[in-house]
């Protein structure tokens, strides 16, 4: 391994750029979250710092840094500090395998717009997601506060429960692609053959699981003012709290990027051949990178949209949805997908699968569910 080779420097530069983009988008997500909330509640929102309040994230960061950094007396000091750091670390690590674009050639050197192209890419995502719970769990326990601990335990059980359905939804994708590599998954969807058309049910399951994994409303039960004071970050203040909140926004962006990669063709966009012919390969690839980030931002918007529209679940409803609703549904999705590949008509099978499911639910509802007579 040569530390000064072109490949190493290019990778380091690329990873640095991805980090910068991720952190910048996460910072401005906080601003847009408040703007969107304001729009939905017919308010103006932050408008004091800079034109349209555009400097609000900077002001927030300064505020976070200036606050007193408090560590409770009977807490476990090192683990208390390690909690938010782990949250940030795991949030940032997932982007390593997201393919942001095809290869570009600059100055005779060919770069791959992907952190690491491993042939187990999607398992890497899955592994890091399953590690994400450590930051919350350790922080909640180290605070030495029973409400923090309860919040941490809620977060852990929620994440573990929804990982199963998420994994089963991914299996249906893998049946299509025949490869665990994220790059191969994207290349299989080029020219408009996006997985969303073949996997509508799988996408809905994955989206719900992504909400739960990011601890976003309607699944934001780890933090709950009425039951748990503040949840797992009750004892946190200053930038440590900022890290926890920031990690949530990074997770939103990264899970949006992963969803775009898995279901919406990654860096594919309509008219890619035209752009390549007109402006050359490099421009087309960078437009593709923009397309991927745009799709991810669209998902960030969906996250916010849902947050300010839907009420939250009760905890037993959340567990019931995860174990008794989504897991059987994703198993059904795997069977339908496998059947579609077997008969060679995956598109029809996907549609027929959804229609059959809705019909089955309607019939079940009519026959077996007792209606309250109003």
């Amino acid at each position: 391994m040569d530390l000064l080779s072109d490949l190493f420097l290019a990778k380091a530069a690329f990873i640095g750029i991805v980090f910068a983009i991720t952190l910048g988008i996460a910072a401005y997500s906080t601003y847009f979250e408040r703007k969107i909330a304001a729009f939905m509640q017919d308010r103006i929102g932050p408008d004091r710092a800079g034109p349209f309040g555009i400097l609000q994230p900077l002001a927030d960061a300064v505020k976070m840094f200036m606050k007193e950094d408090f560590i409770p007396a009977n807490s476990n000091k090192w683990l208390f500090i390690a909690g938010p750091c782990l949250s940030m670390l795991t949030a940032l690590m997932t982007s390593a395998v997201v393919p942001f674009g095809d290869t570009v050639t600059i100055g005779g050197v060919t770069f791959d717009l992907q952190g690491i192209d491993v042939n187990i890419g999607i398992l890497w995502v899955f592994g890091i997601v399953s590690l994400g719970v450590y930051g919350i769990l350790i922080g909640g326990w180290a605070s030495n506060n029973k409400y923090s601990l309860l919040g941490a335990i809620r977060a852990a059980s929620q994440n573990i429960s929804y990982e199963l359905a998420m994994g089963l939804a991914i299996i249906a994708i893998l049946l299509f692609t025949g490869s665990l590599s994220t790059k191969a998954i994207v290349e299989g969807q080029q020219n408009g053959h996006w997985n969303i058309f073949y996997q509508p049910l799988g996408f809905i399951i994955f989206l719900i699981c992504a909400f739960a994994e990011c601890n976003r409303t309607p699944f934001d039960l780890p933090e709950c003012e009425t039951e748990l004071i503040g949840g797992y970050h009750t004892e946190y203040s200053s930038m440590k709290l900022g890290f926890y909140l920031f990690a949530e926004y990074i997770n939103m962006f990264i899970s949006g990027a992963v969803m775009a990669t898995l279901y919406f063709g990654g860096y594919d966009y309509p008219g890619i051949d035209f752009v390549t012919a007109q402006f050359g390969n490099n421009i087309a690839v960078f437009v593709g990178m923009g397309a991927l980030i745009g799709k991810a931002l669209l998902f960030v918007f969906v996250f916010m949209w849902v947050r300010w529209t839907l009420p939250r679940f009760r905890y037993d409803q959340l567990m019931g949805l995860g174990w008794a609703g989504l897991i059987p549904l994703s198993m059904y999705n795997v069977v339908v997908t496998a059947f579609g590949i077997l008969i060679g008509k995956p598109f029809t099978a996907g549609i027929v699968g959804v229609v059959l499911l809705i019909l089955g639910l309607l019939i079940h509802d009519q026959l077996f569910v007792k209606k309250k007579i109003a």
Partner: protein, 171 residues
């Protein structure tokens, strides 16, 4: 950087963190050191070019099993449930047994002189997921299917244990 240097570093780290699992006074620290040990072992898998095993090791052990460990230990009141210190006779007996086992293992390894794998026959793709899948679904199909039955039985057992009987307390 030579690969063997990374190997030595990683092995040292693995042994150190594994040792800390036993030596740490606080059970939570023990669990976290164990998680770190699993990461080091995953690093060894990467050096062996077995990326699939690396990912699965992290997902299953670090991501699922150790979270449950942490979960259970966090529920304990650690101040009340301190294990009492063992008597010096027990400590002595423990060290004698462990030392004997160590000597036995070293003697066994020295006696056997494990042959170094030949560079000619070495296949770098052995640990890749495609190769692994092909072997699992052809040569070792029966054991693989038997394991899946075992898993299924364990799953049904877990659901049965966790199920609330009619009339039992609703927590």
């Amino acid at each position: 950087m030579v690969i063997s240097n990374i190997w030595y570093f990683l092995s040292g780290l693995t042994l150190l963190s594994a040792l800390m699992v036993v030596l740490a006074k606080n059970p939570i620290h023990s669990v976290l050191y164990l998680v770190f040990t699993f990461f080091c072992i995953s690093g060894h898998y990467v050096l062996l070019n077995a990326q699939f095993l690396m990912a699965v090791n992290i997902i299953v052990y670090a991501g699922a099993i150790m979270v449950l460990f942490l979960f259970v230990i966090m529920m304990f009141d650690l101040k009340k449930n301190q294990p009492e210190s063992k008597s010096s006779l027990t400590k002595l007996a423990g060290s004698v047994v462990a030392g004997t086992l160590l000597v036995l293992l070293i003697a066994l390894l020295r006696k056997n002189n494990l042959p170094a794998p030949s560079e000619v026959n070495f296949k770098s793709q052995t640990g890749m997921v495609e190769t692994l899948g092909k072997i699992l679904y052809t040569e070792y199909l029966l054991p693989f299917e038997l394991i899946s039955i075992l898993f299924f039985v364990a799953m049904v057992g877990a659901v049965m244990l966790g199920k609330r009987e009619a009339g039992e307390r609703n927590f």
